[in-house]
Symmetry: D2
Subunit: 136 residues, 4 copies
């Protein structure tokens, strides 16, 4: 299990007239957490794109418990719980200190430039095998 | 079962460097569909807010089958399948002509200006009772 | 002088905690107006991109007189006042009925896929010459 | 003259299908720079709002020289060049290392909760007088 933490300051642009962060904006924060976790695994997502791979979101879910507010400092805790095979699932928690604000997950699959599903890049598979071990 | 259709043109601002609509932006389209469905039910959401109610998203989910592209005309089909009680669930399909692009759902609960959960406004309950009947 | 009108409904996603539309979001509305004006001139922007041209914004300005509110119906009035040469300037007014909310402008220049400045596509030049006349 | 620096990582959500940051998103970065500069001056913007003041943007301008790209680390250099009176003007540069990407400015005026123009809060005026001196 790999866990990564990213810290963000809430922007005014991210709020809505309810006075809190608009619910869709947490998904962009999940993306920040995901980029960070991959980087900590030695995978730089923009390099994957430069090599002709894309890793779109095929499913997303989120539950909202408490709202994040403008100028809050929040932490996105991103977890890769299982060795990814064709599909990659990441889990997220958005926290403000000890308070849990939002939980969520995303599922991804690699595609090529023609939009066709492909196996993960070799370097990615190797890195995941190193991190999770052969047996996981 | 109440169904509403909203038509949108995809904005350049809604795309990302993958050349398709960024996944979080579909949630804003769900919101467009929801506002429209409520209006067709005789419920104007901004009036609910003016009366001191808020209807935040407490859960969201989406599955992405095919991407929407810049300048596409897409339809959001919003469905209220069951008479809402304390929680309101709406389902969404985003279509481009006959093609299904994205499906999703949101769950909402009414809160007051202090952020406390409250029963739906009386006028809302009455309207839903009319639409769904006593027995539903 | 070419003038085009686009009508929009303000989305909740476009508001901020000040209870009004976040100022940056008007720029996306300008883009809607621009796409529409070009289309009415017979120029489909996505086709230009398919032909290897890009028309990025090189300058933008906006003045905010009154705020647009959630669920407002607003009109973007887009004007191409002069025959575009290397640079294209468009002017915008955002109106709610008779009320003027925001004015703005954008300046654009064509680039190729390598990001180098290029002359407008031949079909674009021809179309503009037809619309503005030889002498303009 | 007061100068503040904020560092940002470019999010995928901020790009568009041109493969670069969508032009309107720089305005949200200006906002990050502005919040930071005010904080370094001892003014916490959210506290101003809690006291019943709002500081909307009344004018914005930006020039785009080179695009920011996904995963770039960029710096927003925000400058308050003159002691603000009724109007507050801030200038911005977005840089990637030594490269200048975008310049811009915003002009703001204080309003009260009714949306009426008001003088800046007393604490704000005092702080600015301390920073800029009586004669500036």
């Amino acid at each position: 299990m790999i866990v990564s933490r990213s810290t963000l300051s809430v922007r005014y642009a991210e709020t809505d007239m309810m006075g809190v962060v608009y619910h869709a904006n947490y998904l962009a924060w999940f993306e920040v957490g995901r980029t960070q976790l991959l980087r900590e695994c030695g995978v730089v997502y923009k390099d994957l794109e430069a090599q002709g791979f894309r890793l779109p979101v095929v499913e997303v879910g989120a539950k909202y418990f408490r709202p994040a507010l403008y100028d809050d400092t929040v932490t996105v805790v991103t977890t890769l719980a299982e060795k990814p095979l064709l599909r990659i699932r990441l889990d997220y928690e958005v926290r403000r200190g000890e308070e849990l604000l939002v939980t969520g997950f995303t599922v991804h699959g690699f595609i090529n430039l023609q939009g066709e599903p492909v196996r993960p890049p070799a370097a990615f598979r190797t890195r995941m095998a190193e991190l999770f071990g052969r047996v996981s």
